[in-house]
């Protein structure tokens, strides 16, 4: 059943997320979704919170999902999929369903970090057998690039614009992956669409484990990040190589860095191609870049300390 994680073999699989969806040209989210679905060898039932992916993949009488999929509201994808997963267990116990089905959510940082955190935490605590995937583009992009707790420090968004009094977002990004790992769930990980093999291995590992799992996938948004339509993979790679988005997993409490950049780049390499950070390059905002770099270095050092294979 297991298809080899080689592009040639994977390309023979059916597209379970079809073209014809309405996401922007060059959006990172559909890339993340397709990679996840290609990696899974099990039938998947998915749930999305309200957001870019949800409204663009299922609109009017059209759906890009070739797997069973449900959207109910914004803050409750985890609770909704928990309900489906529980019905699955109930029907399986009664012999009405015999297949092994995996339950996965595809939710933006909007519906995960902030408004969705409660239902996510609840579902993780209750131990539902599900994989919660967050495609993190760092803001409430669907409603027009408003700030979320996933927005990086210093970023310009429509609700924390870079102005003369306040230079964009002055709070640090919430480290949700750590919060999820602290729930002591079997598996929590960070992945990037630039490292497709690492991402797919993580998906496979997650789906092979029983219980609640969490994966945070960086998903560049060229509209919100004010970058080019062709640089989703390039920016993801930069995010990984500057350690803005370290690739690691926490499996049963053990942290493991899964990709160590050969040559760790300074954070400005990641910031420069994005229009949402251009105000940081004025001398009066230099302190923000310094703080940003400090935060990254601190987290990277912590990860290296915790990872036995660093």
């Amino acid at each position: 059943m297991a298809v080899q994680l080689k592009l040639k073999e994977l390309s023979k699989k059916e597209d379970l997320f079809t073209h014809g969806h309405r996401m922007c040209s060059g959006c990172g989210a559909p890339i993340a979704v397709k990679m996840v679905l290609f990696a899974s060898d099990y039938p998947v039932v998915a749930c999305s919170s309200t957001g870019c992916l949800e409204v663009s993949s299922c609109i009017s009488l059209y759906t890009a999902w070739k797997i069973p999929w449900i959207h109910s509201a914004f803050e409750n994808a985890a609770a909704t999929i928990a309900g489906v997963e529980t019905m699955y267990r109930a029907l399986r116990k009664k012999g009405k369903i015999n297949e092994e089905i995996k339950f996965v959510t595809f939710c933006g940082d909007g519906g995960t970090y902030d408004i969705g955190l409660q239902s996510l935490s609840g579902a993780m605590e209750r131990g539902h057998d599900m994989l919660y995937i967050c495609y993190d583009n760092g803001a409430y992009m669907n409603t027009g690039i408003q700030r979320s707790s996933a927005t990086p420090l210093g970023a310009d968004t429509t609700t924390c614009p870079a102005g003369t009094s306040i230079p964009g977002k002055i709070q640090e990004r919430k480290n949700l992956t750590r919060i999820m790992a602290a729930h002591d769930i079997p598996y929590a990980a960070q992945a990037s669409i630039s490292n497709w093999l690492d991402l797919m291995k993580k998906v496979r590992k997650a789906l092979s484990l029983k219980g609640p799992k969490f994966m945070n996938i960086l998903s560049p948004c060229n509209r919100g990040w004010r970058s080019r339509t062709d640089d989703a993979i390039l920016l993801s790679r930069l995010a990984v190589n500057t350690c803005y988005w370290p690739l690691y997993e926490v499996e049963n409490g053990v942290t493991r860095i899964t990709f160590k950049p050969k040559d760790k780049k300074p954070i400005i390499d990641f910031l420069k191609p994005q229009g949402r950070f251009k105000h940081l390059f004025s001398p009066e905002n230099d302190w923000l870049i310094k703080k940003f770099q400090e935060d990254i270095d601190k987290e990277w050092e912590r990860l290296q300390r915790e990872s036995p294979f660093a």
Binding site: L7, K8, E9, L10, S11, K12, D15, F17, T18, H19, G20, H21, R22, M23, C24, S25, G26, C27, G28, A29, P30, I31, K34, M35, F38, S57, C58, L61, Y62, T63, A64, W65, K66, I67, I193, W196, R228, T229, D230, D231, A232, I233, L234
Partner: protein
């Protein structure tokens, strides 16, 4: 598309035809168009895996032509293409030219 009357709609707005988004051709969104230069292609399939719109046709593990019905012209494939000996196998040209 003729708009449906209320009696023709599925209860609860459930969509029963999975994957029918294929009826909506997003190719008209393009401002730029990728051109595949077969001679420079090493068949790495990076373009295929990175394409957000599943717009690269693949058969038997080998990439073929673009599915221009859906390609939105983002240019990710062209940027990521490693090419052969420094020559890209994908270039972007202006749509309509």
């Amino acid at each position: 598309m003729k708009l449906k009357g209320w009696k023709e709609l599925t209860p609860g707005a459930v969509i029963l035809e999975a994957g029918n988004a294929v009826e909506f051709k997003t190719g008209s969104w393009r401002a730029f168009k990728p051109i595949w230069i077969k001679e420079n292609c090493i068949q790495c399939l990076f373009c295929w895996i990175y394409c957000p719109d599943m717009a690269i046709k693949v058969r038997d593990g080998k990439r073929e032509e673009y599915d221009y019905d859906y390609c939105k012209g983002c240019g990710i494939c062209a940027l990521e293409c490693p090419g052969k000996k420094g020559k890209k196998a994908i270039v972007m040209v202006e749509e309509g030219k």
